[in-house]
Symmetry: C2
Subunit: 612 residues, 2 copies
């Protein structure tokens, strides 16, 4: 990096400002001043420091860049246009329906690994990428540009803590401290020292600079990678920096300039602007690409019908089984690994396991980071605690991330620990994630096969596992394709179709036996795939039982299995009667609670009898 032409980079920085203003003015919306504060930082990173192939943004050893302050999207787009990746004229299509240059970055663009725009999420994803670089023996570095306002998000400090703990000196955070938030000044304003103390306390090396002084910026960047700590560059900047009538002024957040204002800004910026210089620092290419191919097959499972195995334990068994055949599989947990049984994988493949401690947001971010690098990350916790990371999961949906989530300890069947530990809204939460697959295993064979399906299926998948031991129902060669269901009991005289999954499937089978002895036949379906739902299987069964369906689930009444079945099948005239948890549950024994909240065999029998 001896040949850096400071004047050229200064010129590009102004060109990025010009692009950012022009694009947002053309769009009539956007955040130009949030771009301007970071323009010098981005120019220095993209044109004077980072090593990458601008023709191939996905190259495996490119330095990575995450724009955590996603509202500065026009700046990112401008930088890539200036590398030569696409024509600068396209920047004027910003925010138009036909353009992939959206209001906030999404991976529809080849140079964007993860969607940003919900603040505070970028750093944990960067931690995942940096950990993955170590795992893959690659020497790319990961850069995360944060806004100062987003440093109020706890997720930033979860990520900072984990990065410090792992001494990730291949991770660099740059904080654009422009002092002004959306609606008022930030909590810490320009007090760089306050930020410094926080990052140092979390184990980081810190540098304080003037974020508009390219000498200072390039100097601290030249020392990236030194030492054994992650580095944060705290850059004092001015929001709207570089334009006299914008900079450091309140009231400009998220506002485009009028054409006249834009013209005035151009007059200030153009004399120092330069374009067409391109990018000259190649990606390091001495290290081989990681092998991230799916295996042809996995070893078989070996359960015996009737064996008592909790699906959460089967999850741990499956991770170990497929992990041996599939080097892409990595796992992480939030200090519940002895309960989720992710610990089995940790013991077998410690290098591929990340303990994220009690920090679920960070855990999901780390997993999403691994996913961007071609891994298949399985992140587990109690189902209810995944709610802590719901915004991260939501944004992973927008990222179309290849993320695998596993929630254990669902429903009242966990028993005595009480409602704070019961996952009772996880199906609702996960069904509403765009592009998600939602799975719910009843027995160990099904759980193991669903883990295989999750590894093979690209996208966000969620597996719901249970605390109690349940009897193995299926043979080891049974297949469980996503979108399927199993009809476990069916006869010509059946009066009602009962759809269940997890612990309630066993209650439905018990109810079927009890009802049969009373001369009432019911069809019982294991709906192990909640989304996509096996609508044709359920519909066909329901048509044979006078369109009558009873759903029974260890979940609240809203948004779970019952709503899924009703929402998909009511248009076909299927009548869905829901059994679910309808009130705030209490501590008690598992079986007591299934009875009290009317989702046990007796409740199913009573419901069926009421319908017959």
């Amino acid at each position: 990096m001896n040949d850096i032409d400071y004047e050229s980079i200064k010129g590009i920085a102004n060109q990025l400002r010009i692009h950012s203003i022009a694009a947002t003015t053309a769009a009539g919306s956007g955040h130009p001043t949030s771009c301007l504060s970071a323009a010098d930082l981005v120019a220095a990173l993209f044109f004077g420091h980072m090593r990458y192939d601008p023709k191939n943004p996905h190259y495996y050893n490119n330095d990575r860049f995450i724009l955590s302050k996603g509202h500065a999207a026009p700046l990112l787009y401008a930088a890539w246009a200036e590398t030569g990746l696409f024509p600068a004229e396209d920047l004027l299509k910003l925010r138009q329906l036909g353009s992939e240059l959206e209001g906030h970055p999404t991976p529809r663009l080849p140079f964007v690994d993860v969607a940003t725009g919900s603040l505070g999420q970028g750093l944990s994803i960067g931690v995942g990428m940096a950990l993955c670089a170590r795992l893959d023996n690659l020497d790319y570095r990961t850069y995360v540009l944060l806004g100062d306002g987003e440093c109020a998000e706890g997720a930033v400090w979860e990520a900072a803590s984990l990065a410090g703990f792992h001494h990730l000196n291949n991770l660099i955070a740059v904080v654009d401290v422009n002092r002004l938030g959306q609606s008022q000044p930030t909590m810490l304003g320009h007090d760089l020292n306050a930020y410094r103390k926080r990052f140092e306390a979390f184990g980081w090396r810190t540098e304080e600079i003037d974020g508009h002084d390219l000498d200072e910026i390039l100097e601290v960047l030249a020392a990236v990678g030194l030492g054994h700590q992650p580095l944060v560059i705290l850059a004092k900047t001015l929001k709207g920096g570089g334009v006299s009538f914008l900079q450091d002024k309140e009231g400009w957040h998220g506002k485009p300039l009028s054409k006249e204002e834009a013209a005035r800004a151009m007059v200030e910026l153009q004399p120092m602007a330069r374009s067409g210089i391109g990018h000259a620092i190649p990606a390091p290419n001495q290290l081989p690409a990681p092998k991230n191919e799916a295996p042809a097959s996995y070893p078989a499972t070996a359960y015996k019908p009737g064996d008592l195995v909790a699906t959460r334990e089967a999850y741990g068994n499956a991770l170990v089984r497929i992990g041996g055949a599939d080097a892409r599989v990595v796992a992480m947990d939030g200090d519940t690994k002895n309960s989720t049984f992710a610990d089995k994988f940790n013991k077998k493949f410690p290098d591929r396991f990340t303990e994220c401690f009690i920090a679920e947001q960070s855990m999901v971010g780390v997993a999403a980071g691994f996913a961007t690098r071609g891994k298949v990350p399985f992140a587990s916790s109690f189902a209810c605690f995944l709610a802590r990371a719901y915004d991260q999961i939501r944004v992973a949906g927008i990222s179309m991330a290849n993320l695998k989530l596993v929630g254990s300890h669902v429903g009242v069947s966990i028993g005595e620990d009480g409602p704070s530990q019961m996952g009772l809204e996880d199906l609702a939460m996960m069904r509403a994630i765009v592009g998600s697959t939602v799975l719910y295993a009843s027995d160990a064979v099904c759980a193991e096969k669903l883990v295989e399906q999750m590894a093979a299926h690209k996208g966000i998948c969620y597996l719901r596992t249970s605390r109690p031991k349940t009897a193995v129902l299926y043979k080891n060669d049974e297949a469980f394709p996503i979108g399927g269901a199993k009809v476990l009991r069916q006869s010509a005289e059946d009066k009602v179709t009962v759809v269940a999954a997890g612990v309630t499937l066993y209650e439905a089978l018990k109810a079927a036996d009890a009802l049969k002895s009373q001369g009432i036949g019911i069809t019982v379906i294991d709906a192990y795939s909640i989304k996509p739902l096996a609508r044709e299987v359920i519909k066909a069964a329901a048509k044979k039982t006078r369109n009558l369906v009873v759903t029974v689930e260890d979940h609240y009444l809203e948004g779970g299995l019952g709503d899924a079945v009703a929402g998909e099948l009511s248009a076909d005239g299927i009548q869905v009667h829901k059994l679910a948890v309808r009130e705030l549950p209490r501590s008690g024994k598992s079986e007591e609670l299934l009875a009290r909240y009317h989702i046990d065999a007796s409740a199913i029998s009573n419901k069926v009898k009421a319908l017959v």
Copy 2:
């Protein structure tokens, strides 16, 4: 506090240990070693320091205590039993279905303000209580006992930051640094200095002590309230502390002792145990109780039919309008107040507004804290960002908190900012909260009246507001009771019932006009109350339209209005056809996106025609 008998407190601490072990052994589950580490701290707080009326845990000026490490519930229960509030024999009913001494604390118990057990949430609630003490000119203090493991949660640092910013010297955090998490040692182990640096960097006064040395504990407690910072007491403890074969040993998390082990522990503990001393430090009683009564009425709204007003702006207007009449109303926002229009309240009643910066978890915790003190807190952000606080909202449900949440910028109708800013899963998320009320205003009058309903209704309420301006539909004297719906168009020949809310209601009305001109009548219903749903209103209308219902919503397909209607009415033979956002949306103009994702008037017309 001159009369503290150190020996007595030491004796009580051991009695609390004995109770904790006995109760968990009787229950056969629980976390005795997590109780033992904090026993000396709790004994000192409850019997040597905190000021409260043990006969009246709800007394307005009692010092507050939050057990953020909720799994140490048996210790909390033991302390209150020792104050004399209830018989110590009851402790042996721990975790039984008939007992309110549940696995983790809930406000079913009079001495519990908020449910805990999902870690990292207590401190932000404490911040809310401490801020409320200031607002109410009361001198109670708020104590929060945290585990060390939960300090990995970002929510802790959001709360710490806000407490430091507000110089809350009436807030005291005590961290039980017992070194051991659930599945392995914590990230920081016994490194008190690391915790000290973190809290100091976030603006706290810190004290490091031996958490088993009562002299040290009582000495630092004696200096509570000094200075202008919140105080954190970092207490080095041993998990299982006080019992030789438990203390500082791995593998004991969440495990009760066997009867034999319990007997051995008792032999060690009983010689120093004391009971029946009770509590002697009264609550401060020189200050008057706050007036937290609901007003008899609120001023009327004054909109004109056809006025264009965004429901988010009507929310801001409503807050100001009812805030003038109702001193209970407080508000908070996460640096979006100029977009949610909470800023209107901030400008009018700055003392009753808390800017929580970009930290939604903290915001919801602060609101829940205010709610425990008799206030009616309205917390607002973009709907999608409330997902960041979903676990806090979930636990607020368990707390039966009187919390009001308002999410703006819902759905694709926000336009160009793109999917990261679109609330498209908020209805699913909020419907699944136990005991929640979910409201969705279409016009300004409805929005204002629903804010009144929220203030009057005890429990968690969520109001969904939209970004675009919409025409006022209703007269100022229209009533909008929770659980209601409005039939806006209906005639005898209607073929289909269309159920909508928010921006899609206007699309449905447009479709009704267009279809009418083609000789097709439709019933149009404004389902402003999503939960509880006006099922009888919708059912009655549907019965008149051959049981055919079309729902249309600016929300994903899963868990929203369509699932609500189908889930409630399919059992009655109503056939529900859902129009909703079915894929990851893009940036674009609001009307372009409504069309592209098939939730506009044209899509409704096409669906109706396909059904006719």
